[in-house]
Amino acid sequence: MKKTFVLLLTFILTIFCISCSAAGTGETADIVRIGDSTGDWGFPSPYGMYSRGPGYIRMSLIFDTLIWKDKEGNVIPMLAESYDYDEEGNTYTFKLREDIKWHDGEPFDASDVIFTFNYIKEHPWVWVDPGSIKSVTQDGSYVVKIALNKKYAPFLNNIAGTLPIIPEHIWKNIREPLSYTGDDALTGTGPFILKDYNNSEGSYLYEANPGYYYGRVNIEKLVFVKVSGETTPAMLESGEIDAGSIPADVAEDLKDKGFIMEEEPPVWAAKLIINHHSNDLLKEKSFRHALAYAIDRKQIVEISQRGFAVEGSAGLMPPANSLWYNENIPQYEYSIEKTRQLIEDLGWTEGEGGYYSKDGDMLSLELAVSQGDFERDGQIVKENLEKAGIKIDLVSYESKTLDNMIENWNFDLAISGHGGLGGDPESLNSVVIDGGFNSVRYYENEELVGLMQAQLEEMDTMLRKEMVYEIQEMYAEELPSITLYYPKWFWAHNEKANIFYTEGGISTGIPIPINKIAFLEK
């Protein structure tokens, strides 16, 4: 009898323990840790974030936009539960959800949306140009009408799906948004609330927003930690991080070990930026052509990228963006003879050491690269150009210093890059004629500038496609920068971090697999 009782008790206890542990694991992974090689991407408020993709991603976890994108790149509702476009009046009408609250408990409504659009007119926000917006009005507390002063094809993607809506009750008192880092600066409606940010360590700690209107957040905490790309595989294997960008060489190995691999479409462009603004020699289009012929892009892909990249297109748009890529652009196939011919046509003669010179001055340029990122590419470009008779002084700078130098035209040649080319072709405008260090700011060809502006107003996709094709041809001819390659990047993650790439990229085309809806219950 006693023995039966003990057995029964043991059985009951075992069942109890099993059920407890099952309940413990539940649907919620406790903490998801993501490794990042840079670490600090700025204070994650709309105005405090560093103006690159990872900065936007960190901000987007806290602040929501009117609409968003799912894994396939389809527009999905977010703050707005539906939208409608009136072609005649050129007006978008957004019906907002009525159950949304800011992180501080205040209700969200149309006045916040109107306030945000007005605020970015007063305090420009680099990701959205409000120039195309005529008026933003409300029709009741939960309907917003946005009238445009001209047709603007990428409105949904680049404004409604990019602009983070900020709370009026907080931001109406903030006069210096760029430097404001008060506690309430991070009050959003998003799925996460920031609990800790350490800029020196490059770490971010987010906690799930328990009352998130769009769905239950399936993790409790999300952490970004600074981890070098090389140590990421080891840290993934040891379980110290759950996801991270890994060197392409180990992708297969990690896949064999059970990690899930996310291969990013190669839409990030590594470019040779040319100072066509203040360097007289580089203002010469034919000299830029000479540079393009001298650089063996195939060699860079095969050696420095070890085959994990796609050769750059002279028209800038990557082949992976199949909707908008023009495959008939004449590329500058590697030819030292053509380079030499073009340089000699400009009056340079071959002199001492095989380098060209004119009026006693050697043809010499400085090539700046950021530390660690493009050093190997820089070495190959230097060798290519020196073989063609152009003396190159290769110098490396800290990446943000180099961004600053590029923005202020304080360089000759530089290797840098940007993403955003996987989505709407407005990205071409932002990296060709808009401001900022990511843009080549090329205005010499008025026809090109005009066409770029006109394509934004073309609502017919086929007609717009023709215009974008022509833009690529003209860009390839003007060549304000030389696209070297589009790297293939890999992210590895375990099942805990259920991340994915978004077709066409997040927002304006950010090719990072951290879409906030990945952390929501399906």
């Binding site: 090389e230 060699q299 070890r306 530390q371 070495q379 060798e383 290769l394 800290e398």
Partner: protein
């Protein structure tokens, strides 16, 4: 008292080993680059394993690692010897002049030395490299400017002691000029300390240059043991580290070890008490 360096070297096995290692390394760095090929040449044969054509395989740019190692060793030794000469010369100049002249000049020099000694060299080098391009020659100058104070302090102390020696008094009594005393008596008597200072500075230079290069603060085009390790470290998750990362590390350790052995011998010569230890 006359001390025979040669006799002591014969007796000290570790110092003999140190001298042999450094001699072999210098010889290797001088001869090998002539037949090891172009260390800059790229090829599409990346990450080749060690073989007949490439003794230590190839790196991520398809460059011959053995050739780069030979050139890198040459750079590291050049920095080491360059800093040894320059920093020791500054130490000698400042230390001897300070001890010999004395007075307010001595006080000023000593305060400058104190200021230099409390500054962390590696931090200063990192800060300076933001403004000055860290090429080989600039690295030699920068490291020299940070290495001299320690030697100068020791040389000054020894100069003060020598000044009070009987033979210096005698020379003065016989009307010897200051310059004569300095060059005929004091500097020759500082011989062993100068050698110790040289070895110490050379050893510090190798370590600092490699450290700076390893953390990425050096010219991209410079080939040194530190830059080789810096580039190899990016691929340590691949087996290439065995023939890419390890050899420069071993060479670096050998240089440091040989300088340490030689330094120990010289210290024993200066301080005979160490012989009994």
């Amino acid at each position: 008292m006359h001390i025979s360096v040669k006799d002591n070297l014969k007796r000290d096995k570790s110092a003999r080993a140190g001298l042999a290692i450094i001699a072999v390394l210098i010889l290797f760095s001088m001869i090998t680059p002539f037949f090891s090929g172009n260390p800059e040449a790229f090829s599409r044969s990346i990450f080749l394993r060690p073989g007949l054509n490439n003794i230590l395989g190839t790196n991520d740019l398809g460059q011959d690692i053995f050739s780069r190692l030979a050139h890198g060793l040459r750079t590291s030794l050049m920095v080491s010897i360059g800093v040894g000469v320059i920093a020791t010369s500054i130490s000698l100049l400042m230390g001897v002049s300070s001890g010999f002249i004395g007075g307010i000049y001595d006080i000023i020099v000593m305060r400058i030395i104190d200021a230099f000694l409390v500054m962390p060299s590696i931090i200063i080098l990192i800060l300076l490299s933001v403004f000055i391009r860290p090429a080989t020659v600039t690295m030699i100058i920068l490291i020299s400017l940070l290495c001299w104070p320690e030697g100068a302090r020791i040389i000054r102390g020894q100069t003060l002691a020598l000044k009070e020696k009987r033979h210096i008094y005698s020379a003065r009594t016989f009307g010897a000029k200051k310059t004569y005393i300095l060059f005929r008596h004091i500097i020759p008597d500082l011989g062993n300390i100068i050698v110790v200072s040289f070895i110490h500075n050379a050893r510090t230079a190798v370590f600092l240059e490699a450290g700076m290069a390893f953390i990425g603060i050096s010219s991209i085009t410079t080939i040194s043991l530190g830059t080789i390790m810096h580039n190899a470290f990016k691929f340590y998750y691949l087996p290439v580290w065995l023939w890419w990362f390890l050899p420069p590390g071993i060479l670096l350790s050998m240089i440091l070890l040989s300088f340490t052995f030689l330094g120990n011998l010289m210290e024993k010569l200066i301080d005979p008490r160490l012989n009994n230890a």
